[in-house]
Amino acid sequence: MAFYIALFLTGLANAAALFLVASGLSLIFGVTRIVNFAHGSFYMLGAFIGVTLMQVLPGAVGFWGAIALTGLAVGLIGALVEIVVLRRIYRAPELFQLVATFGVILVIQDLALMIWGAEDRLGPRAPGLRGVWRIFGEPVPKYDIALIAITPVILLALWYLITRTRLGILVRAATQDREMVGALGVNQAWLFTGVFGLGSALAGWGGALQLPKGGADLLMDFNIIGAVFVVVVIGGMGSLPGAFIAAVLISVLNAFGVAFLPQSTLVLMFVVMAAVLIVRPYGLLGREEVAGEHGQVGAPETPIRPYGPRGMALTTLLLALLAALPGFAEPFVLTLVIDIVVFALFAASLHFILGTGGMVSFGHAAFFGGGAYAAALLVFHTETPMELAFLFAPLAAGLLALAIGWFCIRLSGVYFAMLTLAFSQLVWSLAFQWRSVTRGDDGLINIWPADWLNGPLPYYYFTLILGVGGILTLRHIIHSPFGYALRAGRDSPRQAEAMGIDVRRVQLVAFVLAGMMAGLAGGLFVFSKGSVFPTELEIAKSFDALIVVFLGGVKTLAGGVVGASFLTSVEHWLTRLEYWRLLLGLVIIALVILMPEGIVGTLRRLALRLRRSDEEVSR
């Protein structure tokens, strides 16, 4: 019994940091409607700044003072990020906001690397709270007890701030109707900056408070964001008590998981999340999100038209060029083109559900990596012939998409995005932790194609035919009645249902199809590289695809392909630089602010403007 109580206390102590970070995310989302993916980065900054300050400031006063100062510092950094980046994109579609916050993640990662170096930092022990107390004979760290005491105080302070102060009232009012708050004379810009600063400060405090239990390293940002999303989704977006309950639930379960089923720790929380969402789709204390409730509905999209003769000719020319490429190009160019085609197919499959279906998935890597792993596992464990294993990639990814889609389709908007991300993290944690099958981060190696495909030239044509074929198939479907039904469901779900379209079913089929195509890309990928690692399932991989779709432009069909070519080429030479993330992040942020329609969209608008001014001159 005593052992269980000790485990329970450990879980409660772990909930402190998680709750702080999650409450910050929830608060920011409530007011600004931005899902701040960079929130984990503020947590990481909190840890690093905390370590640095604790080394400078002496004693117990120094320790707690350092924690307090860290929150303030991270809050200021957050406010700065809000003013420089986010303030410009509040009215932009969700995808743009996500891409911008991803840019922030990259920038902060490299800045942290520059300032603190690549080595992990061990957190100092809290002065006066070094040892353990015996509770029913079991040792419980004193610092854990301190955390357990602190957490309710923080919850209470936040609750007081939100329910009893003018700032809190304004925050809640703005959560409902920002424009009206402005019309009543409140400068929303500063309200938003303040809330963003406060949310970031909470993440910073979370990072500093956990130091004596953990430390500071450069992977903290991505490591926490999955758990934070799970907490916020389980608790209900925008609900502080919900975040508290969920943080405690997840942390306690995790403590028991570590003790009894150590392999399952990462998977466990996603299972809990899935179970909660089946019963309560908007979380324990969440409120249903009504699309367009917050005035985010933009102008209707112009319909996508099939290419005219000129577009057809250009495409044919490009394909002919690619087919003839091995005749004159260096081998490394062929490898680069294989990478581009694989990535373009992956991005096109995401673009299919995102652009045409209006479903912003943040976890598309699950299907790319899922397909790659499916094929690799067959080859690795059963020595299945490559042809058969290759076919299994899209099939397995499709089945995975069917299972994940069944949960996710029932939600929309931010909930859909978060849930897809959480599920992709589930798949990632399976690959990462189920070492006996997947070999964890050692990856699966020696996954080479069959003899007749081995070698750069045959595999180049193999990739070209299947990759281009996949992209063309997706294009064809967009222009088919099924594509129309999908777009109808995106633009006006109720109207579509009134016309007899089973919107959810159409969306699920599209989701599965996109999963299969991503799996196909994954299959092509694994046999071109000969290996697969859990990195192919990471959040960063999903974000890469999102960035590509964004770069190319959501509303254009060629977007995915152009974006993929751009990003793959840029990464090829950027990654040779030491601080390439910083550069890439800055480029992304600049693009979001300067080219909100993506590369293709912006070029098209420029062309239109030029043509129009020509006409005006000739008149």
């Binding site: 003018r166 009232i169 304004l170 809640r172 009012a173 959560t175 409902q176 109707d177 424009e179 009206m180 708050v181 402005g182 019309a183 009543l184 004379g185 409140v186 400068n187 929303q188 102008a299």
Partner: protein, 233 residues
């Protein structure tokens, strides 16, 4: 006090206000009349800078408003009560009033929560109720009271009588006359001619975003053809 000259306002590509000009003098209550879609609400939003005019000028006590964000317009002394009331439904009556609170303003009546509860006694009884548990009429009163908490010099009232029980409409008319007596200037948009005549000194009639009539209700009554063309259903 308010000088609107030749404003053009758009929703996307739709041209809603077409060179509209009018003025409101201090202490006046002016009614904007017209059918659905004539541009009454857009006029209100354009004055408030919620739908900024693309051309023309809106000047308030000699100060140009076009180009300012809505919160600055509010700070300049304009109070806006939207047509759909836009109560913060998760907030209580007292909290809704708190959102509207601004420091006292010279040359405008100063309101306290107690005074507003006197003006709208229904609100006093429901001070701790959430906005979503209130009737349409109560929400309308709350919306007006919330805006008055900002101590505006000019009140923009967008269709206050719409969708409200007749008893409450009468009460609303009395409240508006009280506001006028306090020295507030009011621009009110209405479809209900009787209500407008009961509270306003002057009528402006809109049709397709253009001004068709501007004068007293006596003058309007002498020109029944105008009423028949632009107001009757």
């Amino acid at each position: 006090m308010l000088e609107v000259s030749a404003i053009h306002s758009f929703y996307g590509k739709a041209h809603i206000l077409d060179g509209l000009s009018f003025s409101v003098a201090r202490g006046e209550v002016v009614a904007l009349l017209g059918r659905n879609g004539a541009g009454k609400s857009t006029t209100m939003k354009s004055v408030m800078q919620l739908v900024p005019p693309r051309a023309g000028s809106v000047s308030f006590e000699g100060r140009e408003l076009v180009g300012l964000p809505a919160y600055r317009t509010a700070k300049a002394g304009l109070g806006y009560v939207p047509e759909d009331r836009r109560i913060f439904s998760d907030l209580t009556v007292l909290e809704n009033l708190e959102v509207g609170r601004q420091p006292p303003r010279e040359g405008a009546p100063h309101w306290t929560v107690a005074q507003l509860f006197e003006l709208f006694p229904n609100l006093a009884e429901r001070r701790n109720n959430r906005g979503k548990h209130m009737s349409g009429g109560e929400q309308q009163m709350l919306s007006i009271a919330r805006t008055l908490m900002g101590n505006p010099a000019l009140l923009l009232l967008d269709e206050p009588s719409e969708g409200i029980a007749p008893v409450i409409v009468e009460q609303m008319a009395r409240s508006i006359l009280t506001l006028k007596a306090e020295g507030l200037t009011v621009l009110i948009s209405e479809q209900n001619l009787h209500f407008a005549r009961a509270v306003a000194d002057r009528a402006i009639i809109l049709e397709s975003g253009r001004k068709k009539f501007d004068g007293t209700f006596e003058t309007l009554e002498k020109q029944p053809e105008i009423r028949d063309t632009y107001l009757s259903v």
